[in-house]
Amino acid sequence: MLEIRWHSRAGQGAVTGAKGLADVVSTTGKEVQAFAFYGSAKRGAAMTAYNRVDDKPIMNHEKFMSPDYVFVIDPALVYTTDVTINDKESTVYIITTHMSTDELVASQPKLAGKKVFTVDCIKIAQETIGRAIPNTPMLGAFMKISKMYDIEFFKENMKRILGKLPQKIIDANMLAIQRAYDEVK
Amino acid sequence: MANKGWDEFEIGAMLRSFNGPVSDVALTHQEDRDYSENNSFTASVADWRIEKPVFNKDYCIDCQFCWIYCPDISIISRDKKMVGVDMDHCKGCGICVEVCPTNPKSLLMYSEQTDEEEALAAWPSKETGEK
């Protein structure tokens, strides 16, 4: 069982990202689950989304999760929410920030000693898609860190999932995924 | 209607107006329709009356007011001509008399036991303007 927790703001696309990832993973024959915690949340409110991936049917519906990966797609959430809650020694963090990994860990001591990778998904999204929608670049970074799938295979699948969007937006997303894949450190 | 048991009626608190299929029901006179026992046409309310309307053809101008106003569809009219009163479904409310515009009225209320011939023979004459 692979478990992922997304930290995001409502409207940044964490749910879409989690469902998109689940969709891609499902095509490879694995069982998937993607869900989120909702309140009567307004755009901008901190929220979490989740993925589970397994080889056998996923029967666990508890919301509690001790994640293998934590994705933080908004840079401020590292300071305003506890992104390390319920983690384990092996938990891997991929965090959106303009800082280097060392600078980030120095600014948030809770991350000290943890496996932290950084990538500026916000900047990448702004420069490619034209809006601060950091969900697809985060998945590009995840492909690099997890080595889950070949990036070309992943992009092909994402093209299908984004199928209803205008071609220009799809192309921009592909660029964003590739850049995050290349830039995550 | 007989008080049937739970297993003796169709489901759904649903009632049929007719026995079997009907066609062209709008152009079929009531007396020619095959109403089912569930339809109120098959139930008489004649015994509810204390007074009954008597129709006097001589003064009727076929204005159809009584036909329109009758709450029980008990005025029989054919080709826009007043024929009479359906005494099975008339409850004797007197609305037809109230709305009748002729002078003297073409419909008047009499006690249930009044003989119709006698009532017609003694029909009031035209009222003058004096009150």
């Binding site: 749910v15 998937v32 993607a34 996923i58 029967m59 508890e62 919301k63 | 739970w6 007719f18």
Partner: protein
């Protein structure tokens, strides 16, 4: 059929809402009258989009309240169409009067009920308060534990509800958010296979049959009302279960997916059993397997059909168990809990020596964790070992503050 078909992949990643919306499309619903409410909104939204995009031939009726939504469904069903809608929580509460009209008029409407807590305090998350509220409304009630089942049970619901020997409306329950907004793999049916399973809608006493005029919604007083209600109850008690079983069997032939009126998991030799509904059934199954590895013979009984209540089937499933936990995801507000009462009633006149304890959990979407369930199974094992219920009969799981237990 004058509409486009949709090519689906064998496995689509859908949440429960979208799975239900797809099922409504594949059933080719004639009329959806709806007043959307969280978390059920995407179901009717989905139908409306399929309609606008030319994938369904039907009618979406926008109304001013849930009361009007169900009223519109009743009118459309009495007129002679295949009708569905969706709601949750307060929406269902406002619909409740018309639910009784629908069942009493024997109209085979399918309602997707995405289970959500009832205010106050206001809460959009999943619990079974709404499901429990209308359990005596004369509707058949199915319960889905995941998106796949929310999809499948819609087809089964139409098949059963529209059967001329049944003619009763049916609710398909799914857990708000935990199913409705959780995307999982859903094995799909092709449009043709799905539609052929449900079949062409066969009207009965429809108002648009102008050659056979009928009066719907009649008044009956003391002289007739009881006979109508007795007939409806009798049909639920006698006719419906075999029809559900037949639909389950036929669906298994079509899809390979097997549904049971009572879903037993590892119950053959179970000493301790948890009885519950919704997503909790699956989480409990996972924990039961863990407990077996620790030497506790744990099983799970899931309620698949809440109405008609599987009285005999429940007694049969639980007869050899030593300790049972009945899990109610709804505040009984001054009683022992619906499942506790129903199970107690089912077992009372049998030879069972099973110990029964009740638990209230998960209100307003509060998480039921695997840790909770591990503790619960251990408590049941302690009861079984002691030969008596070692706790009070009703306990609360997962609520903050001093421990709450009653009876």
């Amino acid at each position: 059929m004058a509409f486009d078909k949709m090519e689906l992949r064998d496995i689509e990643v859908w949440d429960g809402n979208f799975a239900a919306a797809q099922a409504l499309r594949q059933c080719q619903i004639d009329v959806v009258a709806a007043y959307p409410i969280t978390p059920s909104t995407p179901i009717v939204e989905g139908y409306a989009k399929f309609l606008a995009d030319g994938y369904v031939e039907g009618e979406f009726v926008m109304v001013e309240s849930e009361h009007a939504a169900m009223s519109g469904c009743i009118g459309a069903a009495a007129a002679g169409g295949r009708v569905a809608t969706a709601t949750s929580s307060q929406g269902l509460a406002l619909m409740s009067e018309t639910l009784y009209q629908a069942s009493g008029m024997r109209l085979p409407i399918v309602l997707n009920l995405v289970n959500r807590a009832l205010a106050a305090p206001l809460n959009v998350n999943g619990d079974h308060s709404d499901m429990y509220m209308v359990r005596d409304s004369g509707w058949i009630q199915f319960d889905a534990y995941n998106p796949q089942e929310a999809y499948d049970l819609n087809f089964i619901a139409f098949k059963v509800a529209e059967d001329h020997d049944v003619r009763l409306p049916a609710i398909v329950n799914q857990d708000g958010f935990m199913t409705s907004h959780t995307a999982q793999g859903v094995k799909t049916l092709t449009d043709d296979a799905a539609y052929n399973f449900v079949g062409e809608f066969k009207p009965m006493n429809d108002m648009l049959d102008l050659d056979h005029p009928v009066t719907h919604g009649v008044q009956t007083e003391e002289d007739w009302h009881f006979e109508h209600k007795a007939r409806q109850h009798r049909d639920l008690m006698v006719t419906v279960m075999p029809k559900i079983q037949a639909a389950f069997d036929e669906f298994e032939k079509l899809s390979g997916r097997k549904y049971n009126i009572v879903e037993e998991y590892d119950m053959d030799d179970a000493d301790v059993a948890v009885v519950c509904m919704g997503t909790s059934v699956e989480t409990a199954r996972e924990v039961a397997t863990e407990m077996r590895a620790q030497g506790i013979k744990a099983g799970v009984v899931g309620i698949r059909v809440l109405r008609p209540f599987p009285f005999m089937e429940i007694a049969e499933a639980l007869k050899d168990v030593k300790a049972i936990a009945a899990l109610d995801r709804s505040s009984p507000n001054g009683a022992a809990g619906m499942l506790f009462n129903e199970i107690a009633g089912a077992l009372f006149n049998t030879d069972t020596k099973a110990l029964l304890s009740g638990y209230v959990y998960g209100l307003g979407g509060r998480d039921l964790t695997k840790a909770h369930l591990r503790d619960l199974y251990k408590e049941l094992q302690a009861n079984a070992d002691a030969g008596k219920v070692t706790t009070q009969l009703q306990q609360f799981i997962g609520v903050r503050g001093p421990k709450l237990a009653f009876l």
